[in-house]
C-alpha cells in the first residue's frame, strides 16, 4: 500500500517528505447542496521546511490543515506521514505525536480554567509521557518560547497578554517535540511588534530543531518573508505552488498575480497602476465549471469555462500552476485533465 502512496518528488534536490497529501477532498453537506471545501489537493511538506499555504478566507486552507491532522472527515484522498498512511488508530496516534497545530485566536485557544502549567502539561498527559519527565519538559518548552517558567506557570490565561497566550499555545505544541507544526494564522490577531516576536520564536525553533512549519495565512507578505515554498489556494484547490521567490516574484497563475498586486506596500504610494480583481470568492457549493477561477479571471480565454486545468510545471524547482495559459495541449484538447475528472456531486 505504502508504495503507491509515495509521492513523486517535485524537485530531485529537495529533502524527504515529512507529510504528503494526495488528491485530498473534503465535502460538507449543506442541506441539499454539497460544499467542496477541498477538491483534490496534493501537496508535499518536507522535513524542516517552512511551507506557506495562502489564499482568501473560504479557500479551504484551514480545512486542509484540519484534514491533514485527521480532525476532518475526508471524502477521498490520502494523507501520509513519512510515507505511511496516517489513518487508523496507529497512523493517527503517530501523526498526533509528530505533528502539532496552533490556532489563530489567542483568546480562544487556551482553556480559561486551566493554569499555564496544566495547559502545557496536557499533551504529555494525553500522550502518556512518563510523569517524572513532565516538570522538566514543561519548563523547557516555556523557556523555548521565551517565557520564564517561574513567573508564568501558575497564571491563568486571562492574566496573559495576547502575545503571551500565543507563546503558551506554542509551548504546548512543542512540549511533545514534534517534527512539524501547522500554524493557522498564528499572528493575524496580534499587534505588529508582538507579531514579529512570535514569528521570531517560531523561526528560531525551526532552525534550531529543524522543525517543519506550515503557515496558513492570508498575508502574502508574511508568506514571502518566512516561507521556503508557497502554495496558493483558490476555492478548494491549489492553483499555484513553488518556491516563495518564484511564486511571489514571478507569479504565473492570474489569481496569484492578482493577489500579489492587491497586497498593500508600506512604501509611500505603492502601486498606482494596480488592476484589481472584480467580484468575490464564490462559495464552495457553486464551483464554476472549467477552471474555477474563470468568472473572475482577467485573462480568461475561450476554453477556460470548459476545461479544468491541472497543475503543470511552469518553471524550474517545482514551480507549478494550474492554468490553461501554460497548458496549450489541454486547452486545445478540451478533455478534462486526468486526476481531476469531476466525480463529485452536482455543484449548485
Amino acid at each position: 500500500m505504502s508504495d503507491g502512496v509515495k509521492t513523486t518528488a517535485v524537485d530531485p534536490s529537495a529533502g524527504e517528505d515529512l507529510m504528503a497529501v494526495e488528491d485530498l477532498s473534503v465535502h460538507f453537506r449543506q442541506r441539499r447542496k454539497v460544499a467542496r471545501a477541498l477538491d483534490g489537493v496534493s501537496l508535499e511538506w518536507r522535513r524542516g521546511e517552512v511551507l506557506g499555504v495562502v489564499g482568501e478566507s473560504g479557500c479551504g486552507k484551514s480545512t486542509l490543515a484540519r484534514a491533514m491532522l485527521g480532525l476532518q472527515e475526508t471524502a477521498g484522498g490520502e494523507v501520509t506521514l513519512h510515507g505511511n498512511e496516517a489513518t487508523g488508530k496507529k497512523g493517527l496516534a503517530e501523526l498526533r505525536r509528530r505533528i502539532q497545530m496552533i490556532f489563530q485566536d489567542p483568546y480562544q485557544t487556551l482553556n480559561p480554567r486551566q493554569r499555564v502549567r496544566a495547559i502545557v502539561t496536557e499533551p504529555l498527559i494525553v500522550q502518556n509521557v512518563d510523569r517524572s519527565e513532565h516538570t522538566e519538559r514543561v519548563r523547557r518548552a516555556l523557556g523555548d518560547v521565551g517565557m520564564d517558567p517561574d513567573r508564568f506557570l501558575d497564571r491563568y490565561p486571562h492574566q496573559l497578554s495576547g502575545g503571551q497566550r500565543q507563546r503558551v499555545a506554542i509551548a504546548a505544541a512543542l512540549v511533545l517535540e514534534p517534527e512539524g507544526l501547522i500554524c493557522d494564522e498564528p499572528v493575524s490577531m496580534l499587534d505588529a511588534s508582538v507579531r514579529s516576536q512570535i514569528l521570531a520564536v517560531l523561526l528560531e525553533l525551526q532552525q534550531r530543531r529543524n522543525l517543519a512549519l506550515i503557515f496558513i495565512t492570508h498575508d502574502l507578505s508574511l508568506a514571502w518573508s518566512l516561507c521556503d515554498r508557497i502554495a496558493v489556494m483558490y476555492l478548494g484547490r491549489i492553483v499555484e505552488q513553488g518556491t516563495a521567490v518564484d511564486v511571489i516574484e514571478s507569479p504565473k497563475h492570474p489569481y496569484t498575480q492578482a493577489l500579489v498586486t492587491a497586497v498593500p506596500v508600506p512604501t509611500a504610494k505603492g502601486r498606482e497602476d494596480r488592476e484589481l480583481l472584480k467580484g468575490e470568492l464564490p462559495d464552495s457549493t457553486r464551483v464554476p465549471a472549467g477552471c474555477r477561477f474563470n468568472p473572475r479571471c482577467p485573462r480568461r480565454f475561450e476554453p477556460c469555462d470548459k476545461v479544468d486545468p491541472t497543475l503543470i510545471d511552469v518553471g524550474t524547482s517545482g514551480h507549478k500552476a494550474a492554468c490553461l495559459l501554460y497548458d496549450p495541449a489541454a486547452a486545445e484538447g478540451g478533455a478534462p485533465a486526468p486526476g481531476y475528472s469531476d466525480t463529485s456531486g452536482e455543484p449548485g
Binding site: L71, N111, V126
Partner: protein, 281 residues
C-alpha cells in the same frame, strides 16, 4: 481574584446577606431541629388549636401538638428535598446537556426531543401523577421532583457545550489525540460548572415549593412532618376558617422565606458569572 469577587457579592449586598443568613439558619435547624424542639412534635394533648402563649410560642394544632416544634422538625424535609432533588436534577441535566451538545447528531436529536418534552409538559400535574402512582415516601418525592426539573439545566448546558465545542482549545486537545472522556472532563465540564451551579441553585427553590405543593395535596411522606404537611393538616382541620392563623402563617412564611433566600442567591450568582446582568448598586 475571581473568588473574592463572589464573596464580596455575598457579604456586601443585602440580598447576599439575607440569603446566606436564612439558609444558614434553615440548615442548622434541619440538622438540630429535633433537639431544640420544646415538645414532641406529634404528641397530642387536650390543648387543641390554642393561640400562641408562653407555653406554646406558636400555639397548638388541631390535635394539640406544638406548632413551633412541628415547624422546627419540618424544616428538615424541606431542606432535604430541596437539595437532594436539585442535585439529581443537576446531574441529570448536565449529563443530558453535555451528551447532546458534545456528541451532536442523533444523540442530540433524541436527547433534545426528550428535553423539549420535559420542558413543555406542565411539571406539577406530572409530579402529581407520578407521586400518586408510587407509594409516597421521602425518596419518591425527591426522585419525582428531581426527574421532572432537569430539562432547564439541560438546555443551558447544551447551549454552553455547543459553543465550547467550537473553541480551539477543544480542537487542540482533539489534535493531541485526547479522547472524548478526557475532553469532557478537563475542558467541557470545568467551563460549564458555573452555569450548572447557577441553575441548580434556582432549582432548589423550585424543589422546595414543589415539595410543599405535593405535601399540601396529600402526596407527601405521611410519616414525616414537613411545612407542606402542616399546611395540609391545617386546611383539613379547618384551621383557617377557625381563625387559627398561627397554624397557617408560620409554615407558609417559612416556605416563602427559604425560597426567597435561595432564589436571591441564585440570581446573585448568575449576575456574578454573567456580569452583563449586574446592575450598578
Amino acid at each position: 481574584m475571581r473568588e473574592s469577587g463572589a464573596l464580596k457579592l455575598l457579604t456586601d449586598t443585602w440580598r447576599g446577606r439575607f440569603g446566606v443568613a436564612v439558609i444558614l439558619v434553615a440548615v442548622f435547624v434541619s440538622i438540630f431541629g429535633t433537639l431544640i424542639a420544646p415538645y414532641e412534635p406529634e404528641a397530642s394533648s387536650l390543648d387543641v388549636l390554642q393561640p400562641p402563649s408562653l407555653d406554646h410560642w406558636l400555639g397548638t394544632t388541631e390535635s394539640g401538638a406544638d406548632v413551633f416544634s412541628q415547624l422546627l422538625v419540618g424544616t428538615r424535609v424541606s431542606v432535604l428535598v430541596g437539595f437532594a432533588a436539585a442535585i439529581i436534577s443537576a446531574v441529570l441535566g448536565s449529563m443530558v446537556g453535555i451528551a447532546s451538545g458534545y456528541f451532536g447528531g442523533w444523540t442530540d436529536r433524541i436527547l433534545d426531543a426528550l428535553e423539549n418534552w420535559f420542558l413543555v409538559i406542565p411539571t406539577l400535574p406530572l409530579m402529581i401523577v407520578l407521586a400518586r402512582l408510587l407509594d409516597p415516601s421521602l425518596i419518591v418525592l425527591i426522585a419525582v421532583i428531581g426527574f421532572t426539573s432537569w430539562a432547564g439545566t439541560g438546555r443551558i448546558v447544551r447551549a454552553q457545550v455547543l459553543t465550547l465545542r467550537e473553541r480551539s482549545f477543544v480542537e487542540r486537545a482533539r489534535a493531541l489525540g485526547a479522547g472524548d472522556g478526557y475532553i469532557i472532563r478537563t475542558h467541557i465540564l470545568p467551563n460549564t460548572l458555573p452555569l450548572i451551579f447557577a441553575s441548580t441553585v434556582l432549582i432548589i427553590a423550585v424543589a422546595i415549593l414543589s415539595e410543599a405543593a405535593l405535601a399540601f395535596l396529600g402526596l407527601g411522606d405521611p410519616t414525616r412532618i414537613s411545612w407542606g404537611t402542616m399546611l395540609q393538616n391545617a386546611f383539613d382541620s379547618g384551621a383557617p376558617s377557625a381563625g387559627a392563623w398561627w397554624y397557617v402563617i408560620p409554615p407558609g412564611l417559612c416556605i416563602t422565606l427559604l425560597v426567597l433566600a435561595v432564589s436571591l442567591l441564585g440570581f446573585l450568582y448568575e449576575e456574578y458569572i454573567n456580569p452583563r446582568l449586574r446592575r450598578e448598586s
